[in-house]
């Protein structure tokens, strides 16, 4: 037992001290924080101000198009032809041409530009004008616009989902959040198994090709060496994961604190502007102001998830899934002499992994389907699929069954791998076939 601890220690320290580990540990959170922060940062970027000259032959919109911070409209009293001719002598970014018969279903609006306008500008112009035209046409037919507005206001609703438990208590749910948590956890497990499974395989191959293995095997049993490596690498993975979590949240909170200051300022400005414009457009801007409430709502929903048990399950599937696969990776590493030969044996191991990743996208749409059930019970796919299902609520007995089978699964793969390993590790210069691997299973030690 003491010897296996020595092996675990070596496997752990030799990896944690590596430059690549340190780089990955620092880069990971930077990337992840980036993924979280960049969208916020991008949303805060003000587009360049666009100046547009409006040639309105219909006289319907003249002087009336509401402006935004990034769009300014001018209404020069010149003809369309003249405006086109003199376009490049002006500072305008675009000409908006509204034909005279626009209200009678005439030709379409035209937007001429020097440089491609942003999609936001194009959409804004299109949406605003069609809304205005809509209002004009309705007024023309003696429809009270206020009536429509009221109807729109009162018919707007959101679907609030609540889970009604057997006890009669109801629980607010948020499907989107559950999808996020489930899928995130599934991806993490998938990545972890792959990254560290391959590390185990490389480690075994390193010992075999450097020929140190025979020296070590004169001191310890092959099984001790294999398990020591698998457990040592598992600790490396846990360490990296823990550091990532800590670093990501530190980075994220530091970043948001600095950015949030700006957001507050921005929101106050926006509010003032909305007051000023006070047109049909204030609805869209109102929504932006409501966003902080959305965040608090999300946070409240987040609290509705049973975070502790999900975390515990995550840790379990994280480790048990890794143990199941890494034993197989170790067996592959022991059977080959070089990296190129690993391909044929890697495939059957990676197929269930990739497969579970693919069906995870299906399971997330319908977490209670029988497909979701079976794949969250079968050991080879359960680490990923069960994690995807868990946030939506899974009956206790299913979780227990899945965990029990996974434990049996990894004991089985470890046993299988140990039998291949002890023969393969001392076998050199032989291109190993599947048939050969099968024979090794039945060799006496």
């Amino acid at each position: 037992m003491n010897k296996i601890l020595l092996i675990i220690k070596r496997e752990y320290l030799s990896r944690v001290k590596k430059k690549s580990f340190i780089i990955m540990t620092i880069l990971g959170p930077v990337l992840m924080a980036g993924i979280m922060i960049v969208p916020i940062w991008l949303a805060m970027q003000k587009p360049d101000k666009q100046n547009i000259e409006v040639i309105d032959e219909s006289f319907v919109f003249r002087g009336l198009i509401p402006e935004k911070k990034f769009i300014h409209f001018d209404y020069p009293e010149i003809s369309f032809e003249k405006a086109q001719e003199g376009f490049y002598d002006t500072d305008y970014d675009a000409i908006l041409y509204i034909p005279h018969n626009i209200l009678e279903g005439g030709k379409a609006l035209k937007l001429f530009y020097k440089k491609q306008l942003g999609i936001a500008t194009e959409e804004y112009v299109g949406n605003t004008l069609s809304k205005m035209m809509n209002d004009v046409l309705l007024t023309k037919n003696n429809v009270d616009l206020n009536l429509i507005k009221d109807a729109e206001e009162s018919s707007r609703f959101t679907v609030l989902t609540e889970e009604l438990e057997a006890t009669g208590k109801s629980k607010k749910t948020n499907t989107g959040l559950y999808m996020g948590i489930g899928f995130g956890a599934g991806i993490l497990i998938y990545m972890f198994i792959f990254m560290y499974g391959v590390q185990v395989m490389r480690g075994v191959m390193e010992e075999k090709t450097s020929r140190i293995v025979e020296v070590i095997l004169s001191s310890v049993k092959p099984f001790q060496l294999m398990m020591g490596k698998i457990i040592g690498v598992a600790f490396v993975g846990l360490t990296q994961f823990l550091l990532w979590v800590i670093l990501t949240f530190t980075l994220y909170s530091v970043a948001t604190v600095t950015i949030l200051k700006n957001i507050d300022m921005k929101q106050i400005q926006q509010k003032e502007e909305v007051m000023k414009v006070g047109s049909a457009l204030n609805y869209t801007d109102m929504k932006a102001i409501q966003q902080p409430n959305e965040v608090t709502k999300l946070w409240n929903d987040f609290k509705s998830v049973d975070i502790v048990s999900i975390l515990l399950c995550f840790l379990f599937y994280f480790l048990a899934g890794y143990l199941l696969y890494s034993a197989l990776f170790a067996a592959v590493g022991s059977a080959v002499d070089n990296e190129a030969d690993t391909q044929q044996f890697m495939l059957p191991i990676t197929i269930p992994l990739i497969f579970s990743f693919v069906i995870a996208q299906n399971v997330i749409q319908d977490p209670q389907s029988s497909m979701a059930f079976w794949f969250s019970i079968i050991p080879f796919t359960s680490p990923i699929i069960m994690m995807v299902r868990l946030p939506f609520g899974v009956p206790m007995w299913e979780v227990a069954l899945s965990m029990g089978l996974l434990v049996i699964g990894f004991i089985f793969t470890t046993w299988l791998a140990a039998r291949i390993y002890r023969t393969g590790i001392l076998m050199y210069g032989k291109k190993v076939t599947w048939k050969e691997l099968g024979k090794w299973l039945f060799y006496k030690t």
């Binding site: 020595l6 140190i212 025979e214 020296v215 004169s218 092959p222 002890r422 006496k444 030690t445």
Partner: protein, 315 residues
């Protein structure tokens, strides 16, 4: 007292038998040579003694006790194909391997420093193995093998890959360790080193043991009672003087100077032969031709192979 006895060891792989009923006894504080052509089964036997693999049948005893995992700490093993972790520091790695053999860290460190100084590689403690020359790595490997002062030292082809200087260092260390009470089992092709070092040998060919015993005994056994002579004198007179007591195997003549190989027949002794030829020749050299281990090795292996249907030389 035998430090190690292997009784009736059989080891079969799917398609061939690696060891077929092999029995060897290694006396304590001796040097035992395990000989045989490539693929004969030497490494299989060594791995079984190291408990890296197990025999299909047969038993092993260490100092009379049944060999178990607890004995690994009293055995040191230097495999034929040997390596180290390339990315690990030399000192750290040697410490790790020593601890795997059951040594305490502090003790291992102290002993390692002594050995490193003795082999003049103490400056390399913090270097990574990949920065070391092959000779340096071999020294480190040897140190790691003997550091825990094993009672039984197993060296598989210890001299292959060593340059002559290192080989000589290792040879002296082997003799020194034996003097201190260790027993050494080594496998080799190098028959010169067998004659020089080994007290006993076992010859394995095609998974069977075909010869064993003490080196002196074996060489005596394979003596053909042949003597080499150099003399000046008349060759004809010399031949007549031998009469029926001996047979002239071959000779060369350069004027008065003759060289001859003579086989004694019947009860004739070397003294009889000398008395007979002294009157006719002036003797410069007279010596018994004792077969070298190399000759014995080749003749025994060939003998075995001609009986069999195919050669077992795998290389």
């Amino acid at each position: 007292m035998n430090i190690l006895s292997a009784k009736n060891i059989v080891k079969k792989y799917a398609s061939h038998t690696a060891l077929d009923d092999v029995t060897i006894d290694i006396p304590t504080q001796s040097i035992f040579g395990l000989l045989g052509p490539n693929g004969a089964g030497k490494t299989s036997l060594i791995r079984i003694i190291n408990q890296i693999t197990g025999p299909d049948s047969g038993e092993l005893f260490f100092e009379g006790e049944k060999l178990t995992q607890k004995h690994v700490e009293q055995i040191g093993y230097l495999p034929e194909e040997r390596g180290l972790y390339k990315k690990m520091e030399v000192g750290e790695q040697a410490l790790y391997l020593a601890q795997l053999k059951g040594m305490k860290k502090a003790e291992a460190k102290k002993k390692l420093k002594e050995w490193f100084e003795k082999f003049e590689i103490d400056a390399w403690w913090h270097k990574k193995v990949e920065e070391l020359s092959k000779g340096m790595q071999q020294k480190v490997q040897f140190i790691v093998t003997v550091l825990h002062e094993p009672k039984l030292l197993i060296l598989d082809e210890p001299f292959s890959g060593f340059d002559p200087i290192n080989a000589n260092i290792i040879k002296n260390e082997i003799l020194h360790l034996k003097k201190q009470g260790s027993t050494i089992l080594f496998s080799t092709h190098n028959m010169g080193s067998v004659e020089e070092l080994c007290d006993n040998i076992a010859l394995i060919n095609r998974s069977k043991k075909i010869l064993d015993g003490s080196v002196k005994e074996i060489r005596k056994q394979y003596k053909s009672n042949t003597y080499e002579l150099e003399f000046t004198g008349n060759m004809m007179g010399f031949t007549n003087a031998m009469w029926t007591g001996a047979e002239l195997m071959e000779h060369t003549t350069e004027g008065e100077f003759n060289r001859a190989q003579v086989k004694l027949l019947g009860k004739t002794t070397s003294n009889d032969l000398l008395q007979a030829i002294i009157p006719v020749a002036e003797i410069h050299l007279f010596k018994e031709i004792v077969p070298s281990m190399n000759d014995i090795f080749i003749s025994k292996v060939n003998e075995g192979n001609t009986i069999g249907t195919k050669s077992n030389f795998s290389e």
